[in-house]
């Protein structure tokens, strides 16, 4: 059976203190590093430009091929009879605590997929759910 490439390779490394600037000035030195960095920037710059133009391009497409509307949102919950008074009291308490000035709650409704801020908050909590802990902190 053929020997593994790992066995064929020498294991002796360079001396710990060896230092030489000469390799920097060969083709695989500074030139390659600059070229590599340039390619990375160029690729991501093009991605950045494309992302910037994407809404406009899709806006133009939208005129001819409109995107399917999301499923109709359910009717607002508050307009349905039977929302528990306790829940309304909790909502009112939270709003009062947050607004801290005279106010009136005129309507409540169920969340819909379009409620971006809530989905963002959910994602935020999801990402933070395994946050780094220091010694002495409880588990999240």
């Amino acid at each position: 059976m053929a020997a593994s490439p790992l066995h064929d390779l020498p294991t002796a490394g360079p001396p710990l203190a060896a230092f030489d600037l000469k390799p920097l000035f060969e083709d695989t030195g500074i030139t390659l590093a600059l070229m590599g960095l340039l390619v990375v920037f160029a690729a991501l710059l093009l991605v950045r430009v494309f992302i910037g133009l994407l809404p406009r391009m899709l806006g133009a497409v939208e005129q001819y091929v409109p995107e399917k509307a999301p499923a109709a949102a359910p009717e607002p919950a508050a307009e349905e009879p039977g929302l528990p008074d306790e829940l309304l009291a909790v909502i009112a308490a939270v709003v009062a605590h947050t607004v801290r000035k005279p106010h009136r709650i005129v309507r409540t409704r169920d969340l819909t997929p379009d409620d971006k801020s809530w989905s963002m908050e959910g994602r935020l909590q999801h990402h933070a759910s395994h946050r780094i802990q220091t010694r002495g902190q409880g588990r999240s």
Partner: protein, 382 residues
């Protein structure tokens, strides 16, 4: 032969058949390191999904084998050898990328495209470390594999090391994953040193809504852009965006779900364990490994600083300010470096939520490091 002599001889033979006969100080040191990894994972929660398999693999890989028996990853025909094939030939990293793609939400990047450049700026760590390794008399191929540690992307580091410098694979993989686990320790001091309090307090505009069409078109178009410029990145970027398309198209939910759960978990187990097993003392405890660890730390620090300073530079050019802390997330290490940004930002202002913003350079950093790996691979295999 007397009974005593017989028993002594048999006891000697028995001892020779145990691992104790070949156990060296280096093996004991590596077993201790494996235990430290497991300790850090369990008590400090430092990348437990990686450090537990790697740590146990280190312990397994440092039990001396009996001559004549194929047991460890370097023995032809051993079971571990077959499992290690996926590491040695770079099979596992693209599969990890498939899972990462199926997990990643590019919405924040799509909603604030200028943050993409922070992912590019952080790659300066890769190329400066590459130059540093060259001056320390590593070959260009070895230097390229070492430099990519600064990309803070374990699978990319393993993939490139397997292509360019297989004999350094163990040290590079351990260095990359160790520093990824230590992101919460390495990055905050650099972040605080390079920013003022006023900068850390900057609040950014909430990201705009990104349509489903944008999220579907992006992986296909971005794949074409990236790989036409850097064909060497086809495997990694291709799998990343394929996984993302599975996620965003919403009609292949079963596949996306498998890629981001069972598949990535299985590959992570195999990858981590096999990498750990490859760190037997005779392969790992070398001068090269010490240099690789030093260069890896330097690479991480430069990458963090590169992203931060580029964010500050962007603030000089653009009107809408960026919190420079999010530049540190350009080193990828998804999502740990973004979490660190959130943590450091909240130390100054508990109500400033930078996590979503930091995810943009974070995923751009994954793209950047994969492209950098592609460039190094294509240029250094010629």
């Amino acid at each position: 032969m007397s009974t005593t002599e017989f028993l002594t001889t048999k006891a000697g033979e028995l001892y020779e058949a145990t691992a104790f006969a070949n156990l060296e100080l280096g093996n004991l040191a590596m077993i201790a390191i494996g235990m430290v990894f497991i300790y850090l994972a369990i008590t400090k929660h430092y990348e437990p999904l990686l450090l537990v398999p790697i740590g146990f693999g280190v312990i397994v890989g440092n039990i001396p084998t009996v001559p004549g028996m194929a047991l460890n990853v370097y023995d032809e025909g051993s079971v571990l050898r077959y499992l290690y094939f996926g590491v040695e030939r770079g099979v596992y990293p693209p599969l990890i990328f498939l899972g990462i793609g199926a997990m990643t939400d590019f919405s924040t990047m799509l909603s604030n495209p200028r943050l993409v450049l922070l992912g590019a700026a952080a790659q300066i760590g890769v190329f400066l470390t590459y130059l540093g390794a060259l001056t320390l008399m590593f070959t260009p191929q070895e230097a390229g594999a070492i430099g990519i540690i600064g990309g803070a992307d374990g699978p990319t580091a393993i993939f490139l090391a397997s292509r360019l410098a297989p004999k350094l694979l163990g040290a590079i993989a351990i260095a990359a994953y160790s520093y990824m686990a230590l992101v919460p320790v390495i990055q905050p001091p650099i972040m605080k040193m390079l920013t003022t309090r006023e900068e850390r307090l900057i609040r950014m505009k909430p990201p705009r809504y990104v349509t489903r069409r944008e999220r579907i078109v992006f992986p296909i178009a971005a794949f074409l852009i990236c790989t036409l410029l850097a064909p060497g990145a086809i495997v990694l970027i291709g799998m990343l965006f394929f996984g993302n398309l599975l996620r965003e198209c919403t009609v292949a939910e079963r596949l996306a779900n498998t890629a981001r759960t069972a598949l990535i978990d299985i590959i992570t187990i195999l990858l981590g364990f096999c990498v750990g097993c490859s760190t037997s003392a005779d392969h790992f405890l070398t001068q090269e490994s010490i240099l690789i660890f030093v260069l890896g730390a330097v690479s991480f620090a430069i990458a963090t600083a590169g992203g931060l300073l580029f964010a500050k530079l962007m603030n000089l050019i653009f009107d809408e300010p960026i919190n420079p802390l999010i530049g540190a997330a350009g080193v990828s290490a998804v999502p740990d470096s973004a979490r660190v940004v959130q943590m450091v930002g909240q130390q100054e202002d508990p109500h400033n939520h930078l996590l979503m913003h930091a995810m943009a350079p974070n995923v751009a950093g994954v793209l950047g490091s994969a492209i950098a790996a592609g460039v190094l691979w294509s240029q250094l295999t010629r």
